[in-house]
């Protein structure tokens, strides 16, 4: 392993190296230098701002729902408004926040740096993806402001064909179409970059696990999203021209729409969770200062999840009318997905075992992820089993289950990742104590919000209802209190991050002691990432990484 022994490209850390005067943030100035940038780091930061703003919007809708449900009847929203609010909450969170959050924001920033290249393979396409995302956002805001979408984020037919909010349905479906292509092009860019642009020494099994996760995600983005594209296109044609493919009155079949929709939207669940798992792999290893346990199994399980994910869409439709044999096959396949997910959880726990755990903000978010994702995953099993799903279908149990996976999983991992790479992206350290406080408040608030919903669902509270029976009121109120706690925890996290920009101290090259390539370049990275091709070593070999008090961070012993 002569490559390993060679010193890294820029040895000898001095004060000047750690706090560069010239980096990608001040490489060029002015609005256009950002709006027309081809630099993956700037595009990643623009995505980060965008997805956070979308999250704030979607989160506001979520709080509106919870406050409305404080009383069992006569909430402060009309029933019609309530329908619009939960639809927009779902659609904005899924299409504008979760799907682009980790791949497009963090992935764009980190993939080339972690890989050791100057940029992604197609920088112009990358900028194009961003503007497609902005277009999708504008279309969603149109749907919001013109009339208000009330079909549920799934756009199920025949409701989406018959609803009075035709303009909103058209705007939103076209928005989904555009956002789909944004997602496709990001995935395409990542696959090509990883395949063709790895520097010498960066073999497949020397890639950080975050890149494996992004690669698996990209495969799903490229293979599943076009089907959603054609589905929403046919739905728009249905609305505009009445082509009848999904309309039972014209001999069409609404269940076909559900099949088409879930053929994308179930794999999309893995678009949302796989990159989160990648982040956790990085966080676990770096903050335990210990090599990842079972590297190959984690890498392979990402690919396995991506492939199994395509075969299980029918479990969303057990009550929609399918042949008995089909439902049994879909149910059995659903259980197979739990195997690679469990492998990952096992490996993360194995990584922590006998590690030197630093309980800082990113690590606390990672620990929260493991708890919440495990609960979310295990409650998926009764939903994948045919007999119990008949009872749980369309109840709060489903709502709680996917919030544990999507929010407790993806959002918490996203926050952990943002805190972990924040010093790298902005060059500033945040206040760790307040960060830890935010992680604890988020964890408590989250469980307070969604644990009662499991109980509600198993007692028969249906989802998407604006009113409910009086006996459910205490649990609903508990959930509402939890949601406000959760919201304040998230707000605190945002304040911690923004404060660091004002008064945070400058970040060293390697504040956490990571061994992957992004910690080898300055914080923030220079415009070209690496002046010469970096030397690639084992991404999880921490034996040569040591704390150096002079720079306030870790350095690699040469």
């Amino acid at each position: 392993m002569s490559v390993l022994d060679r010193p890294i490209a820029t040895p000898g850390y001095s004060e000047a190296d750690s706090y560069p005067s010239h980096h990608f943030l001040n490489h060029s100035k002015g609005f256009l230098s950002w709006a027309l940038t081809l630099d993956h780091k700037r595009i990643g930061l623009m995505y980060l701002v965008g997805v956070m703003a979308s999250f704030a919007l979607g989160g506001t809708f979520a709080l509106m729902i919870r406050i409305h449900l404080w009383n069992f009847k006569d909430g402060w929203l009309s029933n019609q408004t309530y329908n619009q609010v939960f639809t927009l909450h779902g659609a904005i969170m899924v299409f504008l926040f979760i799907i682009p959050s980790i791949p497009a924001a963090l992935g764009n920033f980190l993939l080339p740096v972690m890989l050791g290249t100057k940029d992604v393979a197609f920088p112009r396409l990358n900028l194009g993806s961003f503007y497609l995302w902005v277009t999708g956002l504008i279309l969603f805001l149109t749907a919001l402001s013109v009339t208000g979408l009330d079909t549920g984020w799934t756009f199920y037919t025949p409701y989406s064909i018959e609803t009075q909010q035709g303009g909103a349905v058209l705007a939103a479906t076209f928005g989904v179409f555009v956002l789909g292509f944004s997602s496709i092009f990001t995935g395409l860019n990542f696959i090509v970059t990883i395949n063709t642009m790895r520097p010498p020494g960066m073999s497949w099994f020397r890639m950080p696990l975050f890149l494996w996760a992004l690669y698996a995600t990209s495969i799903i983005q490229v293979l599943a999203t076009p089907v959603l594209g054609i589905t929403v296109l046919l739905l728009s044609a249905e609305r505009l021209l009445g082509i009848g493919i999904f309309d039972p009155k014209l001999n069409g079949d609404p269940v076909t729409f559900q099949h088409f929709f879930w053929f994308y939207s179930h794999p999309a669940v893995y678009i949302m969770i796989l990159p989160a798992m990648g982040i956790i792999s990085e966080l676990m290893s770096v903050h335990c200062h210990k090599g990842i346990f079972g590297y190959r199994m984690i890498a392979y399980s990402s690919i396995a999840i991506a492939l199994f994910g395509f075969l299980v869409w029918g479990h969303h439709m057990f009550t929609s009318g399918m042949a008995d044999v089909t439902t049994i096959v879909f149910s059995a396949l659903t259980f197979t997905v739990s195997i690679p997910s469990a492998i990952k959880v096992f490996n993360w726990l194995g990584t922590m075992y006998q590690g030197t755990v630093s309980l800082n903000t990113p690590m606390l978010y990672a620990l929260a992820f493991i708890f919440l994702f495990t609960i979310g995953g295990l409650t998926g099993l009764p939903l994948g089993a045919l007999s119990t799903d008949m009872h749980f279908h369309d109840t709060y149990f489903v709502v709680a289950h996917f919030h544990y996976v999507m929010m407790g999983g993806t959002l918490v991992a996203f926050l952990g990742g943002v805190f972990h790479w924040w010093p790298k992206m902005t060059g500033r350290m945040f206040n760790d104590k307040l960060g830890i406080a935010s992680a604890i408040i988020v964890f408590v608030g989250f469980n307070l919000t969604f644990l009662p919903q499991f109980v509600l669902g198993s007692r028969g509270m249906p989802r998407r209802y604006a009113t409910y029976l009086p006996e459910f009121q205490p649990l609903h109120q508990l959930s509402t209190i939890g949601s406000i706690t959760l919201g304040s925890g998230l707000l605190l996290a945002l304040i911690v991050l923004l404060m660091s920009l004002v008064n945070g101290k400058k970040a060293p090259r390697n504040p956490w002691g990571g061994a992957t390539l992004e910690w080898m370049c300055s914080s923030p990275p220079p415009h070209d990432n690496f002046s010469s091709a970096p030397t690639v070593g084992d991404p999880y070999d921490f034996s040569t990484i040591e704390y150096d008090a002079r720079v306030g961070g870790y350095v690699k012993r040469t």
Partner: protein, 374 residues
């Protein structure tokens, strides 16, 4: 692959350039020509995968509904003009040949030939669209429309001429006029570059109308042959339509308007029929020579309409891909006229070629699945 590496490997990088590691055609983040070429190629293949999946949704819908109502597909397919479909298949296959030839010309620095081949491909695409415009407008005229718009009156009588063809041709006409203006400008300024760009574009614009002419001629012939089989009474009318077509008169609309005044009654009957059909009653007259299937109920909105929904969606999305292809081929013509391509940099031609072959390939599936059922 090995052939490509041979082409790429032996040529030394242009040392005259100041940044000798990065000539202008090599993007800054790539190490060498091979990496750039491989990235572009992989990217295009992945894009083609997404395209296949994009169309697969519609192929699935086709399979589902054909499986459910095979007689509807057989019946409706007989309204598609196989001759026109076959001609379009041939045109697209030929355009794939010219596209592949263009890739070779780019590799061998045959700049003139490259522009010619790209122009030929563009022209074929325009012929395809011209023929398609005739097919669409003809079907729309007799009410073979998708889904709930389906109002076909299949007795061989035309309703009032609605001018769909003229409507479809408006945008190509404007584009051709602009191309002609550009060509005049190019020849006036004697700029070789502009001539090389404007020439193929103008030819392509004219090819569209060539396709329209060809389509109308064949469509009229088809109608005439059908007319002989059955209703003598309508034969005269068919002959009249054929006459219009052969003269290629632009007063078509006005002339047929007067020809149809006598048939206004038929038109109003048709409207009445349409409203009956709205109510669900299949009270529509079907000419015996059209009736090739025992199930007469197929000629209604919920049956035939669904076939034409699938027909318009599939061929329409395919046509949009043809238009997209024409735009990128035009971009290639501009680059080719600047003589940008050489043995180390021909990736764009190669990749657009791949895309073009896929569009051709999808049509090769669409043609038998839609036109050749019976």
């Amino acid at each position: 692959m090995t052939a490509i590496q041979e082409t790429l490997a032996p040529v030394a990088i242009d040392h005259a350039d100041h940044h000798h590691e990065h000539p202008s055609w090599l993007a800054h983040h790539f190490d060498d020509a091979e990496q750039q070429y491989d990235s572009g190629k992989l990217g295009m293949w992945l894009f083609l995968v997404t395209e296949v999946l994009f169309f697969s949704g519609m192929f699935c819908a086709y399979a589902l509904y054909r499986n459910r109502n095979p007689e509807v597909f057989e019946f409706c397919s007989s309204f598609l003009n196989e001759k026109l479909g076959a001609i379009n298949t041939g045109v697209l296959l030929f355009s794939s040949l010219t596209m592949a030839w263009a890739v070779r010309a780019a590799q061998l620095r045959q700049h003139q030939l490259l522009v010619g081949m790209l122009g030929a491909t563009l022209g074929c695409a325009a012929i395809f669209l011209g023929v398609k415009a005739v097919e669409y407008s003809h079907k729309m005229e007799i009410g073979l429309l998708p889904g709930k718009l389906y109002v076909a009156q299949l007795d061989g009588v035309h309703g009032p001429h609605k001018g769909y063809l003229e409507f479809i041709c408006t945008i190509p006409a404007i584009c051709t006029a602009l191309c002609a203006a550009y060509a005049i400008y190019a020849f006036a300024t004697k700029s070789l570059f502009h001539q090389r760009v404007a020439g193929p574009m103008l030819v392509a614009g004219l090819c569209f109308f060539g396709g329209v002419g060809l389509g109308q001629y064949l469509e009229a012939q088809e109608e005439a042959s059908k007319g002989h089989g059955g209703h003598g009474g309508h034969q005269e009318h068919h002959a009249m339509v054929e006459g219009h077509v052969e003269h290629g008169s632009h007063e078509h609309a006005a002339a047929s308007e007067s020809a149809h005044t006598a048939e206004n009654k038929t038109a109003s009957e048709m409207a009445a029929n349409a409203s009956i059909a709205m109510g669900g009653s299949p009270d529509v007259y079907i000419a015996p020579n059209e009736l090739r299937t025992p199930n007469a109920d197929v000629n209604q909105r919920s049956m035939a309409g669904l076939f034409f929904s699938i027909y318009y969606c599939m061929t329409g999305v395919h046509a949009i891909h043809i238009i997209g292809g024409m735009i990128v081929i035009t971009w290639l013509i501009v680059k080719a006229a600047r003589q940008e391509f050489h043995e180390q940099y021909f990736g764009p031609v190669d990749n657009v070629g791949l895309y073009w072959h896929l569009v051709d390939f999808i049509w090769i599936y669409l043609f038998p699945l839609l036109y050749l059922i019976t």
